[in-house]
Symmetry: C2
Subunit: 260 residues, 2 copies
């Protein structure tokens, strides 16, 4: 560790993913009038351990003051710098369906320095419509909106079937950062960065854990000697689990193709 310039030192991915949370917590603290904060207090506000927080900050070359803590404003600036929050980023949204619509109007983007500068869709019924103050344009207009030299993030909110094609067009137009809401794997050149948000997956993961809790609590029941007692007998739960076991409903088959 020598140079301290932003972007010089390597920051672990897990740390990067937490930086936005720290930043947000610091904003809240600053608004509350706090000038200084300890790793303990900040970590707490974000719901992580203080050791992890300090480790994370150490990757930024951040300097707190021993015995005192961190200067809230300075640390905020430092993290914002690392996240590129000093620059305003342009965002284009492709696919103005249900979700694209919502994203176009999402206040959380603007407040963190992201400016939605273009909405795109090739559906005849949407093109031309004005959404959140911006006209929906055909995909062909992409190049005219993407100013080379201005960093632009592409948000993909199209159905899975179209995701790859649309992504290709974004890349062709010079976009190198893509946020993909379609449940598909996108193939992109090595210099393009793709992040994926899969809403249904999130529910599926929750369901996995919930089922597990349910099964566990059932499994913990003593093997019934007589015919099993009625429905949901209270059972010695293992760790977590308050819900009764799942009532079996008809099987459900996964389908492809639907999104947004």
């Amino acid at each position: 560790m020598d140079e301290d310039e932003v972007g010089t030192v390597d920051v672990p991915e897990a740390t990067v993913a937490r930086l936005p949370q720290y930043l947000r917590a610091l904003s809240t603290l600053a608004e509350a009038g706090l000038r200084t904060v300890s790793s303990e207090a900040l970590a707490d506000a974000v719901g992580v351990g203080s050791a992890k927080l300090r480790k994370d900050l150490s990757h930024l070359g951040s300097y707190g003051t021993r015995g005192v803590g961190y200067d809230v404003e300075q640390l905020h600036r430092q993290i914002a710098d690392h996240l590129g929050q000093t620059t305003s980023w342009n965002v284009v949204i492709v696919g103005i369906g249900n979700l694209g619509h919502a994203l176009a109007g999402y206040g959380g983007f603007a407040s963190r320095g992201f400016r939605v500068v273009g909405l795109f869709d090739d559906g005849a019924h949407v093109v031309g419509e004005v959404v959140s103050g911006l006209p929906v344009r055909p995909l062909d207009d992409l190049p005219s909106v993407l100013r080379p030299g201005e960093p632009t993030i592409g948000v993909l909110a199209v159905p899975a079937e179209h995701a790859q094609v649309v992504c290709d067009r974004l890349v062709a137009a010079g976009v190198t950062s893509v946020l993909n809401f379609a449940p598909t794997v996108l193939r992109v050149p090595a210099d393009v960065d793709v992040r994926k948000v899969d809403l249904a997956s999130e529910l599926q993961i929750l369901a996995f854990h919930a089922q597990r809790r349910a099964v566990r609590s059932t499994a913990a029941a003593p093997a019934p000697t007589a015919p099993a007692p009625t429905a949901t007998t209270s059972v010695p739960a293992l760790q977590r689990s308050r819900r009764p076991a799942l009532g079996a409903t008809g099987p459900v088959l996964d389908r492809v193709g639907e999104v947004v």
Copy 2:
């Protein structure tokens, strides 16, 4: 590894997060008429290494056939089982703003076995409105919609300021799985499972990497002996990086409170 019953063996978190992707890929393969698939091919479709896939499946106690591969339908059933996809899950959405609206109409939920059974909001202007076929009800109606015995997932799409209060009410009503779209840390009892989706964070993480690429490519430029050449001279890029350096725009401060 003895018993093979779903929910018995421990499955690593990283694996759980990939199961929905495998499931989806298997659906696609099945639709394409494939009866059998090798770990190589399936892994490929999901964008992971085949070793990782096989390791993941081994946690489920899955049995493929050496020399042959996996039976597409059987593997699909097996994973669906583990994910609790055999049961239909109820979902309630709280906060019918921009995002809640979109989620209520999101086709990707239904197709994966999630049924939206209730929409809630306390805003005078939304209550009573019908969204995607469901009436928006006041939060007080929560208990009447949540059938004890039916596993229900709560989706939080309210502004950050209200997230904790609303979450408390969900928990009080018996919800033990929460998907949180508000950029706040939720405090919940140990038996409640919370997952968070922070849309702005995703952009921030992309911005971090993009900035890094930009800085790197600039840093790789030979120290100019004469006054630096104009603007974006082509520069020996390190690995990735095609974009010019960021044009500095005014600083942007983070704010709290806005969501959805």
